[in-house]
């Protein structure tokens, strides 16, 4: 972890004025539910090619969901980063603290005129000032801790499948599903229909749950580049978070994905902000083969060819080695650490992934994650510093949000 340069600590740091406070509040609310820390990253540069920007990133404790929102300086009324040429300013804040500042959006809309955020390096505080009506000014001093860069390696361009639709369409698509549903399977069915189906843990067979499936025609999508039969299963709750933000901002949502086990990227874009959610997907093939067949009610797609439509049951086998996205975790002096086992739902049962590679074998590969106790269904995304030099991690400020790698 980088040491904060001494001269920076002596200065006030930078300040930004928030113009669209409501958007920021909404953005914060959409963070993955289990994210403990919020990483702020501010970059500034002399070169016009590399834009100054503010980023808010977070990852959940099981490292299966990552969110990143990038704000262009124009988003703000005033944006002043530290002296260009400095290393990017990076700090980690407890999510709860940050959210509590923007707690009530309705209230914010009504009473707050201006919001000013600045980093006070001297006291290691992120200062958020809300200038409200009637001369009221609320100042929140949030402790932050210096942290390593939180950066997931993902590239939408390498994903073979893309879906893009107005958030409203996707919002309507997830409406039939119960709010408590944890995971959903998204796939392409016959006739280029997009199918969403509730995913049930196979283990809990005594209590059979209702299965809900929603089928939407490809015509409702702005972009549909995916093979029939392809399907991924991901956490619906996290997706709903981004979706509700996208709906309120009236944006389109793009989904970039590959096969089961590979992370799926959900992206929204605006002229002033850019949001990405990267969610892990279930790595085993769907247990019920007939899942993505189009329901009988759908108008039958004209069967022009003699050959049968691609067999929907065969999902790509989980080829762990080639496709796992991983990064070297921040090592510093500590060496590689054991990662927490992923457990996305309480009733989760560990299982051995298909194929010849078990979790343990992955240990030997330096680029993959060290083995974790029981093999997980979901592949975790692993994050770490992309900067080579490792410095002593401890800063003077108290540790507020433990680095979740050490936690079970």
């Amino acid at each position: 972890m980088e040491k904060v340069p001494a001269d920076w600590k002596e200065r006030e740091g930078f300040s930004r004025r928030w113009w669209k406070r409501r958007t920021l509040g909404q953005v914060c609310e959409q963070k993955p539910a289990r994210g403990l820390g919020l990483t702020l990253l501010v970059t500034a540069s002399l070169s016009p090619l590399f834009l100054a920007q503010l980023s808010l990133r977070t990852v959940n404790s099981s490292r299966s969901a990552y969110a990143c929102f990038l704000f262009a300086p124009l988003f703000f009324q005033q944006y002043q980063a530290a002296i260009p040429g400095q290393d990017p300013l990076r700090c980690k804040i407890l999510m709860k603290s940050f959210l509590s500042v923007f707690r009530s959006l309705a209230m914010l809309e009504k009473t707050v005129e201006k919001c000013c955020i600045s980093l006070n390096g001297r006291s290691s505080r992120l200062v958020v000032q809300l200038y409200c009506k009637y001369g009221v000014r609320k100042t929140h001093n949030l402790s932050f801790q210096d942290c390593e860069s939180l950066q997931a390696v993902f590239d939408p361009a390498v994903c073979p499948h893309v879906l893009c639709a107005p958030a409203r369409v996707l919002g309507e698509a997830v409406l039939p599903f119960p709010p408590a549903l944890a995971e959903v399977t998204l796939g392409i069915g016959r006739g280029h229909r997009i199918i969403l189906r509730s995913y049930q843990e196979e283990a809990d067979s005594t209590v059979k749950a209702m299965v809900t499936e929603m089928s939407i025609g490809g015509e409702d999508f702005q972009q549909l580049q995916a093979q029939e039969g392809v399907a991924i299963t991901f956490c619906l709750k996290e997706f709903r978070g981004l979706l509700s933000f996208a709906e309120s901002a009236n944006l389109s949502l793009s989904i970039y994905f590959d096969g089961p086990g590979r992370p799926a990227i959900f992206a929204i874009k605006d002229s002033l902000l850019d949001g990405h959610f990267v969610l892990a997907t279930l790595s085993e093939p769907d247990p019920h083969p007939q899942d993505l067949r189009a329901p009988e009610l759908q108008q039958p797609a004209p069967q022009l060819q003699a050959h049968s439509t691609p067999h929907l049951d065969d999902f790509a086998l989980d080829d762990i080695d080639s496709y796992m996205i991983a990064m070297e975790t921040t090592v510093g002096s500590e060496g590689s650490r054991t990662l927490p086992s992923t457990s996305l739902s309480p009733g989760f049962q560990p299982h051995c992934s298909p194929g010849s590679h078990s979790e343990e074998e992955d240990d030997t590969e330096p680029s993959t994650v060290p083995g974790t106790p029981p093999p997980k269904k979901f592949r975790s995304l692993f994050f770490g510093s992309i900067l080579a030099p490792a410095h002593s991690p401890q800063g003077p400020s108290p540790v507020l949000a433990e680095d979740s790698e050490g936690e079970g």
């Binding site: 039939p176 059979k208 299965v211 499936e213 929603m214 015509e219 409702d220 329901p295």
Partner: protein
């Protein structure tokens, strides 16, 4: 065993949804009986402490534009299914903008009632929501417990006041006592009473009207002013009143002496 039905009318769908919501509020699991002319929702809660049992009958042709069923056998042309009532009401909730709703009995690894909804859509393509509700087929030998309850001749039968009014009164009374005393007579008078050590509260309803009695003898013997009284668990009554979503033309309360 086969069953398929199709519902296309919005008002029918609305009513069917309300019935299902009412059932869901009363009990976790219910029995659905399918016969050529009717659909019945049956709840039989044989709890010693005053359980709720319910028999609800719907004329199939009032709801469905198409209805086909084939029972267990020709002599026993009915199907009895046990399902989680909330599942059905949740499935129907998503059918608010439905063009067509189809229900059928299917076997997808286990018996299911599949509710298939084609939604109205602004775009050219159709949107289809499918719900597979797991059901348990109830064997023939248990059918006898699920027959229509015979209603014995009542001592007093009275038409109830507007259920909403009754519900709000009973709700307030719930805070004071666990038991409610209902008194009614053949003069159209109904009292809802709670009695505790400290306080006694009674709400009087007048001019409610009485349905015609089944047997002549009972009405002759009884003084029309004489109140018949029952004590019931207030929470059960409230559960019933809270569940009422279908506005009844008439709701009758009858008292029996056992």
């Amino acid at each position: 065993m086969k069953f398929r039905a199709k519902l296309v009318d919005a008002a029918c769908l609305n009513n069917f949804t309300r019935v299902s919501n009412m059932i869901a509020k009363l009990a976790k699991t219910c029995t659905l009986r399918i016969s050529p002319d009717k659909l019945n929702f049956i709840l039989s809660d044989k709890v010693a402490n005053g359980g709720v049992s319910m028999w609800c009958e719907l004329e199939q042709e009032n709801f469905f534009s198409e209805f086909q069923m084939e029972g267990v056998s020709a002599e026993n042309n009915a199907i009895y299914l046990e399902l989680t009532s909330e599942n059905l009401s949740r499935a129907l909730k998503t059918a608010q903008n439905a063009r067509v709703l189809k229900i059928k009995l299917t076997n997808k690894h286990f018996p299911c009632l599949t509710v298939s909804i084609e939604l109205l859509s602004v775009s050219s393509s159709s949107r289809v929501v499918t719900h597979d509700i797991p059901v348990k087929v109830i064997p023939r030998k248990l059918w006898k417990d699920l027959q229509e309850p015979t209603v014995p001749d009542a001592d007093v039968s009275i038409y109830l006041p507007v259920l909403k009014t009754m519900k709000s009164i009973v709700e307030k009374m719930k805070n004071i006592s666990n038991h409610l005393i209902i008194e009614a007579n053949l003069n159209g008078e109904l009292n809802l009473k709670i009695e505790t050590e400290l306080v006694c509260v009674t709400t009087h309803f007048k001019d409610l009207g009485n349905p015609p009695l089944a047997s002549e003898n009972a009405s002759q013997d009884r003084n029309s002013e004489q109140m018949a009284e029952v004590h019931i668990d207030i929470r059960k009554l409230l559960q019933f009143l809270a569940g009422q979503q279908v506005n009844p033309t008439k709701a009758t309360c009858s008292k029996f002496a056992f």
